[in-house]
């Protein structure tokens, strides 16, 4: 049985990304997370389950409450690959700018 979830598939969903954004700052109980969304508790709980299955989120028991938190190592692996959108475009346009100059020089030397 395939239990390991693909991390990129896990973050492809906007609600799951929103959950990550929430608990990246502090561990939260399932109730506290669910309060931030319009969806039902069950739906939010399913999303958390997917995040747990791919290892991005772990849980810990504190007294009677369960807290969900980000798993830093897994997150780092993801963040290493996923650069901020703006930075990605800045770099792409840097690439493009370099390439334009190369192309110009090539044409002039013809």
């Amino acid at each position: 049985m395939e239990t390991r979830r693909d991390i990129f598939q896990a973050i492809a969903d906007p609600t799951r990304r929103a959950i990550i954004s929430l608990i990246v700052l502090q561990a939260m109980t399932p109730n506290a997370i669910a309060e931030q969304f319009d969806s039902t508790r069950q739906t939010v709980s399913n999303h958390i389950k997917v995040l747990q299955e791919c290892g991005l989120v772990t849980s810990k028991q504190k007294g009677r409450e369960i807290y969900y938190q980000i798993h830093p190592k897994k997150l780092k692996a993801l963040a290493d690959w996923l650069e901020p959108f703006q930075k990605m475009w800045e770099e792409r346009l840097d690439n493009f700018g370099d390439y334009v100059i190369k192309l110009k020089n090539k044409k002039q030397n013809k």
Partner: protein
């Protein structure tokens, strides 16, 4: 919130001036054999799967990712005005879906002023983020991730 503010908060703008005539900048931006040279981040390769450069035409680029999947970017051109501007829809799976990209080319002698807008998604897509005050969706999530990652590296 009025519509203009909303649009601005959903738009990423990057301006550049390239030291090359607009014809060359246009060619580098629009010809598939050139796109393949600059689209991918350093150290990665991109494959131009489809490149139908006309209004209503589709483009699709594929980048292999470290985990073995492909990172697909694709869209459909909606406006093409030769040497002036290009609008296209764009999906970057799995990061950012349903954005519009606008590229403006402006001739300034032998240089080219280039303005690039990425307008993020529909309100529907942003809904979960908006509720918590995130307008750029992924952007703010990634900033937080980066802050955390930096603190981990210390």
């Amino acid at each position: 919130m009025n519509h203009t503010d909303d649009l601005q908060s959903r738009t990423l703008t990057i301006k550049r001036t390239f030291d090359a005539p607009v014809e060359i900048v246009w060619e580098a931006w629009t010809q598939p054999e050139h796109v393949a040279e600059w689209w991918a981040p350093k150290g990665m390769k991109v494959k131009v799967v489809e490149h139908n450069f006309k209004v209503g035409g589709k483009w699709k680029y594929s980048m292999p990712m470290p985990d073995g999947n492909d990172f697909i970017s694709e869209g459909v051109y909606s406006v093409i005005i030769e040497l002036q501007k290009i609008f296209t829809s764009a999906d970057f799976r799995p990061m950012t879906e349903g954005v519009e990209m606008q590229s403006f080319f402006e001739k300034e002698g032998e240089k080219t002023n280039f303005t690039f807008n990425v307008i993020h998604a529909t309100e529907e897509y942003c809904k979960a983020q908006e509720k918590m005050g995130f307008y750029n969706g992924w952007g703010s999530a990634l900033e937080r991730l980066n802050t955390l990652v930096k603190s981990l590296n210390k």
